[in-house]
């Protein structure tokens, strides 16, 4: 991937990720309202404010007069985002319009089909939206665990350690005995 494309994109792709009903779509409405000249409040993005999913597709919104694109996602639950979908979204491998309900075959085919243009959709920043109520309620401890797990996952993605991994790759090829002494690497390279 050419460095100019990733290092100097012509727009910033910002992912809105978070629990179902965490006001992701409401935030997009607020952002569109902010950037519009009108005094009226934009309510074009369907928002619920409850536990149900209002956003069922990966949707993108270019903010008027800016180089900012907001991507709205299906709300996180314990049951979804279990097949590598989050990593694929961050890498730009899934196009706008992709639905969480697609089969794994369709998921794989879609990644293949859109691989060559993935750099255009690669995510540059993530806003993780989380309802404040879930932060305090003792009964919602599992929800906080979900938050921590996925926040850590996002933090670990997009990281590359080119020198270290290449060095180790060649070291292990050069000397089998070295493998015995190599300590496990903390973290995973997703670059």
């Amino acid at each position: 991937m050419p460095s100019t494309r990733l290092g100097s994109p012509d727009r910033f792709n910002i992912l809105l990720f978070g629990l179902a009903g965490a006001s992701k779509s409401s935030f997009i409405n607020s952002a569109i309202t902010l950037m519009s000249c009108a005094d009226e409040i934009y309510r074009g993005v369907q928002a619920g404010g409850g536990i149900r999913h209002n956003t069922t597709r990966l949707a993108k919104y270019q903010l008027e007069g800016t180089n900012i694109v907001l991507l709205d996602t299906w709300g996180l639950t314990k049951e979804n985002y279990t097949g590598g979908e989050l990593r694929a979204i961050l890498e730009g491998e899934l196009p706008a319009g992709w639905e969480m309900g697609y089969s794994m075959d369709a998921f794989g085919a879609m990644i293949q089909e859109h691989m060559s243009t993935a750099y255009q959709r690669k995510i540059h920043a993530v806003l993780f939206l989380f309802p404040q109520a879930a932060m305090k309620d003792p009964a919602l401890k599992p929800v906080r665990a979900l938050l921590k797990e996925n926040f850590a996952l996002i933090s670990s993605l997009g990281t590359t350690f080119p020198f270290r991994l290449s060095l180790l790759r060649n070291l292990t090829v050069a000397n089998d005995a070295f493998r015995c002494r190599v300590q496990p690497i903390v973290g995973v390279d997703h670059g």
Partner: protein, 113 residues
């Protein structure tokens, strides 16, 4: 060591007005309750408090509000700065001579003999 720092997600606490309704009028001045929640969230995730923001969205308002607009702008600004840092990190990694791991075909072979 050359590396791209990866994502630095921002946590945005939503619906904070349910906890403290006064914040709707002036989101720039959070109460002690909201500040405490922010610190709690930061501690829970092991991140810096500056990585935790809070958002106030429109509910039943008819007209746009400069206070809510400012809050939205603050979040967008932070997101853009995070995006800029990420892109800069990627560009720095690509510019360095040892940054070859992304393409294994172009990786030089070391002579360890």
């Amino acid at each position: 060591m050359p590396f791209a720092a990866g994502y630095n997600p921002l946590l945005v606490l939503t619906m904070v007005d349910e906890l403290d309704p006064t914040i709707r009028a002036n989101p720039s001045s959070p109460s002690a309750v909201i500040k405490g929640l922010r610190e709690q969230a930061a501690a829970e995730l092991g991140i810096a408090p500056r990585q935790v923001m809070y958002c106030v969205n429109y509910t039943s308002e008819e007209r746009s509000s400069s206070a809510i607009g400012k809050n939205t702008l603050d979040i967008l600004s932070s997101a853009v700065m995070s995006a800029r840092d990420f892109c800069q990190s990627c560009a720095d990694t690509d510019r360095r001579p040892m940054a070859f791991a992304a393409s294994s075909s172009s990786a030089p072979v070391f002579d360890w003999s």
